[in-house]
């Protein structure tokens, strides 16, 4: 009995198709499970609970601070509290270059970083060195009950600075806005 060549061809193409489907399913399964393992590993490496000091903390009453840079919370919380004629703000003591801790030089009225020599003024503007952006300012608010200043360390103001002849600057009016500035 002679086979119908057309049927044979159909049979062949069906087999080809099924093989293809099988291969796609197989390889797809392998890729999908590898992807799943990858995502799972990444998720595993990101901790859900941090055993670190709280990033929201109180630093006392506004009346505790006079005009100028106050370093009393530097050791414990890595922040400088600054008061000018208009109000108060909190500078984060982390150099924007590579995260070293700058030192405050009251005689020069400058923060200077020991790692690569970045220099900041009391507004946080970059007056020299390789720092690419201005110092962060933390979010601040007043506690409704006891009137203390609450600092939110990880809420950070980071405006785009402009290169000028003086250094990398941000207009003061742009920085002195809520919630990064207290008019007290």
């Amino acid at each position: 009995m002679a086979e119908d060549p057309k049927a044979k061809e159909q049979e062949l193409s069906r087999r080809k198709f099924l093989t293809l489907v099988g291969q796609c399913a197989g390889w797809g399964g392998i890729v999908a499970s590898l992807g799943g393992v990858g995502v799972g590993t990444l998720k595993y490496l990101i901790p859900n609970v941090l055993y670190e000091p709280s990033s929201i903390f109180k630093i006392g009453l506004p009346s505790d601070y006079g005009v100028g840079v106050d370093t009393r919370f530097m050791k414990e919380r890595q922040v400088w509290v600054v008061r000018n004629e208009r109000g108060m703000y909190v500078l984060v003591g982390i150099c924007r270059h590579l995260g070293c801790t700058p030192n405050w030089f009251p005689d020069q009225q400058r923060f200077r970083c020991p790692c690569h020599g970045s220099i900041y003024d009391t507004d946080g503007n970059v007056r020299g060195g390789p720092a690419p952006r201005t110092l962060w300012r933390s979010g601040v608010s007043l506690d409704a009950v006891d009137g203390q200043i609450i600092v939110n360390f990880n809420q950070r103001q980071d405006p785009d600075p402009k290169g000028t002849d003086e250094g990398l600057m941000v207009e003061t009016s742009l920085r002195e806005v809520s919630p990064f500035f207290l008019k007290v």
Binding site: L98, N103, P114, D160, T164, D165
Partner: protein
């Protein structure tokens, strides 16, 4: 690699007994002696120069200066001239990728298995330049950087802060603006990015460096291009120009006080 090549290689390796010697004792003894010398040197160094241990770690004071281990000081020195995303991430990645692709972009069949400069001048010179730059940056980082990461000569007093003369670092954009009196108002604004005329000119300069760098060897050294082919040529030129660009940017900073060549709100080069 194909099997035939493997076999050919195997045959080549055991070509004739006269050219070869037994590994035991010839090679094994060389290895033994070099291991003994290395162990002795390590012991000697360990005794005369113990590992340092500074004060307990504390986040509120940064030692001045803070130095990475010596083999990273080249990168740390680059951080003076480039932003962290470039010096700390992009440039190291490019160095690694550049090293990895070397065997694939070097079609020169000469100089396999013997020292030669005369038969592969460009590759040896290019590699030497990269190494030279890498090592000189390490030398600078280890021996000339002191307090505040300032430059100290061996004969300077390393205990006093450098009194530093006033130097202004400016962006290339500003230099153009002031030199030609270009308008400070942006032509076009893309989100946070206000593109001024001066800004456009800096882009032309930056991209022009690569454009000229790619074109000139193509026009003048066609033979070089033909040997490499389109893809290899572009890869080689890209990495070579970037390597030279690092040097150039450092020199521009030193001679003209240029802080950034190109400025955008998201990244600066």
């Amino acid at each position: 690699m194909e099997i035939s090549a493997l076999i050919k290689n195997e045959a080549e390796k055991t070509r004739s007994p006269e050219d070869t010697v037994l590994v035991w004792p010839n090679l094994v003894y060389i290895e033994l002696i070099s291991i003994l010398v290395a162990t002795a040197s390590l012991l000697f160094l360990s005794i005369i120069s113990p590992a340092p241990l500074e004060e307990l770690a504390s986040a509120d004071t940064t030692p001045n200066p803070t130095k990475a281990p010596w083999y990273f000081l080249g990168l740390q020195e680059l951080l003076v001239y480039f932003d962290p995303w470039l010096a700390g991430v992009v440039l190291p990645t490019m160095i690694i990728i550049g090293l990895i692709i070397i065997p694939y972009v070097d079609p020169n069949p000469n100089g396999k298995g013997y020292y030669t400069f005369s038969e592969r001048k460009f590759s040896v010179a290019g590699f030497s330049f990269g190494l030279g730059l890498w090592y000189i940056l390490i030398v600078i980082g280890v021996w000339t950087r002191g307090l505040d990461w300032s430059w100290y000569w061996p004969w300077s007093d390393w205990h006093v802060h450098m009194s530093v003369t006033a130097v202004k670092l400016v962006d290339l954009e500003l230099i153009f603006e002031n030199m030609f009196g270009l308008p400070k108002e942006p032509l076009v604004t893309l989100g946070r990015y206000g593109i001024t005329v001066a800004n456009l000119i800096t882009w032309v300069f930056f991209l022009g460096y690569y454009a000229v760098g790619f074109t000139v060897p193509f026009l003048l050294f066609r033979n070089f291009y033909n040997k490499l082919g389109l893809i290899r040529y572009n890869l080689v030129m890209f990495f070579f120009l970037s390597m030279s660009g690092v040097m150039l940017k450092m020199l521009l900073r030193l001679t003209f006080n240029i802080k950034y060549l190109v400025v955008t709100p998201w990244f600066k080069i």
